[in-house]
C-alpha cells in the first residue's frame, strides 16, 4: 500500500511545485515551487524502490526482504545537488531583491534589460 500512495503523493507534489513555478510572480515562491517539486521527485525515486514488507537496506538489520537500495543512494546524491542549487539560487534572489527592492519577475524583466 505504501508504494502507490508514495508514488501518487510524489506526482502530486511535483505537479504543485511546477504549478507554483509557472504562476507565481515572486521569485521566492518560484524557488519554493521548485523545491517542493524536487522533494516530490525524491519521494518518487524512493517509492519506486518500495517492496511489500521490505525493511531498510542496512546490513545486519535482520532477515527478510529489503527495499531496493539503489534509489535511496540516488536520492541522497540528488538531495545534495538540490541543496547546493537552492543555496545558490537564494544568494541570487537576495542580490536581486537588494538591487531592485522587489521580487516581482515581471518588474525584474523590465528593469534588468
Amino acid at each position: 500500500m505504501a508504494g502507490p500512495v508514495g508514488l501518487a503523493t510524489a506526482v502530486g507534489l511535483a505537479g504543485l511545485g511546477f504549478f507554483v513555478l509557472a504562476v507565481r510572480r515572486e521569485l521566492i515562491f518560484k524557488l519554493l515551487g521548485l523545491h517542493v517539486a524536487s522533494g516530490g521527485v525524491g519521494l518518487f525515486l524512493v517509492a519506486t524502490g518500495h517492496r511489500p514488507g521490505g525493511i531498510a537496506p542496512i546490513l545486519g538489520l535482520g532477515p527478510g526482504p529489503t527495499v531496493d537500495p539503489l534509489p535511496q543512494a540516488l536520492v541522497l546524491t540528488a538531495i545534495v545537488i538540490h541543496f547546493a542549487t537552492l543555496a545558490l539560487a537564494l544568494v541570487y534572489v537576495i542580490y536581486l531583491t537588494e538591487r531592485h527592492h522587489s521580487q516581482d519577475a515581471h518588474r525584474l524583466e523590465r528593469e534588468e534589460e
Binding site: A14, G17, F18, L21, A22, L27, K30, L31, L34, A37, S38, G40, V41, F44, L45, T48, L70, P71, L74, T77, A78, I81, H82, A84, T85, L88, A89, Y92, V93, Y95, L96, A105, H106, L108, E109, E112, E113
Partner: protein, 482 residues
C-alpha cells in the same frame, strides 16, 4: 580507461585545489594532465563497468567522446589564455566545469549522466553570474530555475525507467521492448536533457545566459557546455531508439533560433540565438543517423563560435554598446581578421571547418534534411551579414585566446578536407547558399516582424508544453506501432 579516469580526476582535484589560490597555474596543470590523458586513451576504449556490486558506473570512450575531449581542451586553453589576468575563483570554476564535461561525455549510465549534467549546470550558473555584470545575475537565475526544473523531469524519467527495467546502464536499455511506463520515462529523460541543451521551446534560457555571461565564458558555454545536453540526448536516444524525436527537436530549434537571430540587434544575444540554430544541425545529425558528421560540426562550431564571441566581446567593450550598428570599426586588424574567420566559417564557405563539417553531415542525411540544412545555412549567412561592418579594422590589437582557436580551426579544416571527399558540387552549393543569404539580407532587414519576447514566464510555459508535446509524440510513435 584508467588514463581517461586519471585525466578527469586530475581536473576535478586540481580544480578544487585552485579555490585556495594560484587558480590559473593549477588550471594550466590540469590542462596538461588532461591532454596527456587524452593522448593515452585515444583512440578509445570499450564500455567498462567500474566499481563493486550490481550497479557499477559505466564508461566508454567512443569517437564522440574523443572529439569532445579535444574540443574541451582547446576551449579551456583559449579561456586560460584570454583570461590569464583574472584572479579569484574564476579559473577554479572554469577548470571544474571543463573537468565535469570530460566526465560527462564518457558516461554511459543514466545516473552518472544526471550527476554530470547537474554539475556542469551548477558551475555554469556561477560563471554566468561571475563578476555580477549588468543583467547577468538575472540571466543566471533564469538559467538555474529552468535547468533545475528540467533536471527534476529527468529524475522522474529515470525513476520510471529504473522501476520498469531495473537497470540504469544505457547499453542494457537498448534491448527492452516498449511499455507505457518506459516510454513516458524516456520522454521525460529526453525533455530534461533538452532543457539542459537549450533546445527551442524547452530551453529558452539559452539566449539570456549566453548573452549576459562574461565573454570568455559565453565562448565556453556556447562552444562546449550547451552541447553536453545534446550529447546526453544522443546517448539516451540511441539507447531507446527515439531518433525521429531528436530530428523534430532539431527542426524546431534550427528554425526557431534562426528566426530570432535574423532580427536581433544585440550582438551577444544574436550570437546566442545563432548557437541555438546551430544546435539544430547537431540534433538533425544525431537523430537521423549521422553522429560523426554531427560531432565534427559540434567541434567546428565550438571553435568558430568561440572566435566570434571573443571578437564580439572586444568590440563591445571598446564601443561601450551592445547594439551591432554601434560596433562598426572598433576592432584592430588582428581581432577583425579572427572575427572574419569565424564569420567565414559559420557561413559554411569553403575551405574552413564549417563547410567541411556540413559536407560530412549532409552526406548521411535524407533529402529533406539536406534541404533544411541548406535553408538554415542560407539564413545563417544572411544573419551574419550584419556583422560585416565590424570587420573594418582600425589600428592594432592584441590576440589572446584566438591564438589557440585559429590554429585549431585551421588544423580541423585541413584534417576534414583530407579525410572527407567533398565534391565540386558540394562546394558550389555551399557558396550558393552563402550568396543567397547575402542577397536575402537587405530584403530581410526591411521586414521587422514583432517576435514574442522570451520572458521567464514564457520560458517556463515553453518548458512544460515542450515536455508534454515531446512525451506525447514519443508515446504516440512508440505505442501506436505494434
Amino acid at each position: 580507461m584508467t588514463a581517461a579516469l586519471a585525466g578527469v580526476a586530475a581536473y576535478l582535484v586540481l580544480g578544487t585545489l585552485a579555490f585556495l589560490g594560484r587558480g590559473r597555474w593549477l588550471g594550466a596543470a590540469a590542462w596538461l594532465a588532461g591532454a596527456g590523458a587524452l593522448a593515452a586513451w585515444a583512440p578509445g576504449f570499450p564500455e567498462t563497468a567500474l566499481g563493486p556490486g550490481p550497479w557499477p558506473i559505466r564508461l566508454a570512450g567512443d569517437p564522440v567522446a574523443l572529439a569532445f575531449w579535444g574540443l574541451a581542451l582547446v576551449l579551456h586553453a583559449a579561456v586560460l589564455w584570454e583570461e590569464w589576468g583574472r584572479g579569484g575563483a574564476f579559473h577554479a570554476l572554469v577548470t571544474l566545469l571543463v573537468g565535469t564535461t570530460l566526465a560527462l561525455v564518457l558516461s554511459r549510465d543514466l545516473f552518472n549522466l544526471y550527476v554530470c549534467l547537474e554539475l556542469t549546470s551548477l558551475l555554469s550558473f556561477l560563471l554566468v553570474g561571475y563578476g555580477a555584470r549588468p543583467g547577468a545575475i538575472w540571466a543566471s537565475l533564469q538559467y538555474l530555475l529552468l535547468t533545475t526544473a528540467g533536471m527534476i523531469l529527468y529524475l522522474f524519467g529515470l525513476g520510471l525507467v529504473y522501476g520498469e527495467t531495473g537497470t540504469l546502464a544505457l547499453s542494457e536499455l537498448a534491448g527492452v521492448g516498449p511499455s507505457p511506463a518506459l516510454v513516458v520515462g524516456a520522454g521525460l529523460l529526453l525533455s530534461g536533457a533538452a532543457v539542459k541543451g537549450g533546445v527551442f521551446l524547452l530551453g529558452l534560457w539559452l539566449p539570456r545566459a549566453h548573452g549576459r555571461a562574461p565573454h570568455a565564458i559565453s565562448a565556453l558555454l556556447s562552444g562546449l557546455v550547451v552541447k553536453m545536453g545534446i550529447v546526453a540526448l544522443f546517448r539516451i536516444s540511441s539507447a531507446l531508439g527515439s531518433g525521429p524525436i531528436l530530428a523534430g527537436l532539431g527542426v524546431l530549434t534550427g528554425l526557431g533560433g534562426l528566426i530570432y537571430a535574423l532580427w536581433e540587434v544585440d550582438i551577444k544575444y544574436f550570437l546566442a540565438f545563432s548557437t541555438a540554430s546551430q544546435l539544430g544541425y547537431l540534433l538533425l545529425g544525431f537523430g537521423l543517423g549521422a553522429p560523426l558528421g554531427a560531432t565534427l560540426y559540434a567541434v567546428g562550431h565550438g571553435l568558430f563560435k568561440a572566435l566570434l564571441f571573443l571578437g564580439a566581446g572586444k568590440a563591445l567593450e571598446s564601443a561601450g554598446s551592445r547594439r551591432i550598428p554601434d560596433l562598426a570599426g572598433r576592432l584592430g586588424w588582428p581581432v577583425a581578421l579572427a572575427l572574419g574567420l569565424g564569420i567565414w566559417s559559420i557561413s559554411g564557405l569553403p575551405p574552413l571547418a564549417g563547410f567541411v563539417a556540413k559536407g560530412a553531415l549532409e552526406a548521411d542525411l535524407p533529402a529533406w534534411g539536406r534541404w533544411l540544412l541548406l535553408a538554415i545555412g542560407a539564413g545563417t549567412a544572411a544573419s551574419f551579414a550584419k556583422l560585416l561592418p565590424l570587420l573594418q579594422p582600425v589600428g592594432e590589437g592584441r590576440l589572446k585566446g584566438e591564438l589557440v582557436l585559429i590554429p585549431a580551426l585551421v588544423a580541423l579544416s585541413g584534417w576534414g578536407l583530407a579525410s572527407f571527399h567533398l565534391t565540386w558540387a558540394a562546394t558550389g552549393k555551399a557558396v550558393a547558399a552563402a550568396a543567397l543569404g547575402l542577397i536575402l539580407y537587405p530584403l530581410l532587414r526591411r521586414a521587422r516582424p514583432r517576435l514574442p519576447r522570451l520572458t521567464l514566464d514564457r520560458a517556463v510555459l515553453g518548458l512544460l508544453a515542450g515536455t508534454l508535446g515531446l512525451t506525447l509524440a514519443l508515446v504516440w510513435s512508440r505505442l501506436s506501432v505494434p
